[in-house]
Symmetry: C2
Subunit: 294 residues, 2 copies
C-alpha cells in the first residue's frame, strides 16, 4: 500500500481541492495529482471523483478509512510518557455539543495536555460521513450504527425544546392558537439542520415546512436570536437552563420536546490516548445528558 498516496487522498478531501492539499503537504499540485493517479492505476479503478469539492469513490472511502485505522495503531506504538510530541486529535462534533459540555469533558481526561484538538463542526445527522471517510479520529453524532472498522458507544440524550421569547409568542399569538405555526419565523442552524422540520411535522403535520426561516450557523448566535425575538428555534435545554428558569425563553408548544441521542464513534484500532479521551467524554456525558432509553 502506498501510504504517501493515501495521505494525499485525505489531504485533497479535507482541503476540498488539489491546490490547498498541495500547500498543506508542501509539494506541488502535480505531485498530488500524480500520487493519486498512480494509486488508481495500480488499483485499476478510480478512488476520487473530480467534482467540486472532490468526493471519494467507494474504494477511496475504504482506503482513507483504512489509513485512519493504521494511524491510530501507529499512535499506540509509543506510550504517552515515551512520546515528547503532542498528538493532533481531529474530532467531528455537533455544534451544540461543542458549545455546551465538551470542554469540561476534555478536561476530565488526564492525557489531554498532550492533545492538540481540531474540531470539525458538523450537524449531528451528517457528522458520521467524516468518520466513514477516515477524516477524523472520533465523532459525536446522532447515529448509532458504527462505520466499517469502527465502533460506537452511547453517550446519552440531548433534549431540545422549541423556544422563543415571551414577546415573540405574544406577537404571533401562539398562546391561543398554533395552527399558523409554519408561517411564524423560524431559526435554522444550516441546511442540514432538520430539527425545526421535525418539530413542525409533529405539531402541524399538514404544514411541516417552515415558510419563513432565519439561517444562523452559530450555536451562540442562535440563542441570542431567540432571546431577541427574531425567531423561534429548537435549542438544547442544557444550553439555556438559566434563560428558561428566568422566563426569557418559553416553550412555543408547552410540553413538547425532541430527544436527540448522541453516540461516540471510534476506531476498532483505538489508541490508548483515544481510549482515555473516550472514558472522559462518556463520564461527563453521563453527568450532563439524559439517559438513553433502549
Amino acid at each position: 500500500m502506498d501510504y504517501r498516496a493515501l495521505e494525499a487522498l485525505v489531504a485533497v478531501l479535507e482541503c476540498r481541492g488539489f491546490e490547498r492539499a498541495a500547500q498543506r503537504l508542501n509539494v506541488s499540485q502535480s505531485a498530488v495529482s500524480q500520487r493519486i493517479r498512480q494509486l488508481e492505476f495500480r488499483l485499476g479503478q478510480p478512488v476520487l471523483l473530480r467534482t467540486s469539492p472532490p468526493r471519494l469513490t467507494d474504494l477511496g472511502q475504504r482506503l482513507t478509512n483504512h489509513l485512519q485505522q493504521v494511524q491510530q495503531l501507529e499512535q499506540g506504538l509509543l506510550l504517552p510518557q515515551e512520546s515528547a510530541e503532542s498528538v493532533k486529535i481531529r474530532l467531528a462534533v455537533n455544534a451544540d455539543t461543542l458549545d455546551t459540555w465538551l470542554a469540561p469533558a476534555l478536561l476530565r481526561c488526564d492525557d489531554y495536555v498532550q492533545m492538540d484538538f481540531d474540531f470539525v463542526v458538523e450537524d449531528q445527522d451528517v457528522g458520521l460521513k467524516r468518520m466513514r471517510n477516515g477524516e477524523v479520529m472520533a465523532c459525536i453524532c446522532a447515529t448509532a450504527a458504527p462505520v466499517n472498522g469502527g465502533l460506537s458507544q452511547p453517550l446519552g440524550v440531548m433534549r431540545y425544546r422549541a423556544l422563543a421569547s415571551p414577546e415573540f409568542i405574544q406577537r404571533h399569538q401562539l398562546k391561543r392558537n398554533q395552527q399558523h405555526i409554519a408561517q411564524v419565523p423560524c431559526l435554522i442552524f444550516s441546511g442540514d439542520d432538520r430539527l425545526q422540520h421535525r418539530f413542525l411535522q409533529s405539531v402541524s403535520p399538514e404544514h411541516a415546512e417552515p415558510q419563513r426561516t432565519h439561517q444562523c450557523p452559530s450555536s451562540g448566535g442562535f440563542v441570542r436570536m431567540a432571546l431577541a425575538g427574531i425567531g423561534y428555534g429548537m435549542i438544547p435545554q442544557v444550553q439555556v437552563a438559566e434563560h428558561i428558569k428566568s422566563g426569557e425563553l418559553r416553550d412555543v408548544v408547552p410540553g413538547y420536546h425532541l430527544d436527540v441521542p448522541l453516540y461516540w464513534h471510534y476506531w476498532q484500532t483505538e489508541s490508548s490516548l483515544l481510549k482515555s479521551l473516550r472514558s472522559a467524554v462518556v463520564a461527563e456525558a453521563k453527568k450532563i445528558l439524559l439517559p438513553l432509553k433502549r
Copy 2:
C-alpha cells in the same frame, strides 16, 4: 445581459459546485453548465474557473457584483408596505459579532419583521470577498475600503484580549515568564483566524508562530475551551465581561489588547429596507463597540 445566466453563476459560487447549484435552481446540472458556457461564449472570455470549489474570474466577479446591485434596485421598486412578501437578507458577518451584539441590533430596525436573514459566517479579515463576489447584500468585516459599487461605514472597534483560566496561567507559569508563550497551547478559530499570531508577533516577535494549537470553529465553544483551561485565545472583551470580572478568565499578558475595527459594507444601490437595517446596526454598534480612532 442574460440574468438567468448570472443567477446560475451566483448559485454555482454559493453552493460551491454545479450539482448543488442545479438542485437549488431546480434545473438539470447540464442546464446550469450551458447557461454559463453561453454567457462566456457571448462575452468571449471565461467567467468561472472550474476549480474545486469553482472560483470567479475578474469578469465573473464584476458580473455577480452587478447582479447584486440590480437585485437591490429591484427590492427598492416596492415600498415595504406595498410588498406582502418577506425579503431574504443575506449578510456576511464575523462569528464574534453574530455571537454577541448583532441580534439586539436587528431588533432596533422597525422593518426587521419583513426580513428573513441568512447569515454567512466569515472571519473578519476575509468576509469582504463575499461582498466583492456579489454573494451578500451587506457585510460586517475589518476592512475599511469598499468594494467596486459599494460603500462602507465605520461601526466601531471590537477589543480583543488574550485570555485564559487562572489554572492555565499557573500551570504554564505565565506569571513569572512569558518567553515560552509560543509553546503554550493556543486556541484558534479557523485557518483564517490570525488574531493569535498578531498577539504573538507583538509580545514575542522572535517566536510568532504558535507551536501548539486547538482549532475550535465555534465562538461559544472557544470561550468554553478557554474557561476550561484547554488553551488561551483572543476573545472579545464584550463577550466575556462577566468572566473577566469574576476572575474566571485572566489576561495572559496584562495590559495587552488588540483592537479590531469593524465596518458595515453596503451597495450604492441600497434599498430603503437595507438602509433602515444599516441605521439600526450602526446605532447598536455605537452602544456596544468602542469608538474608532482616526
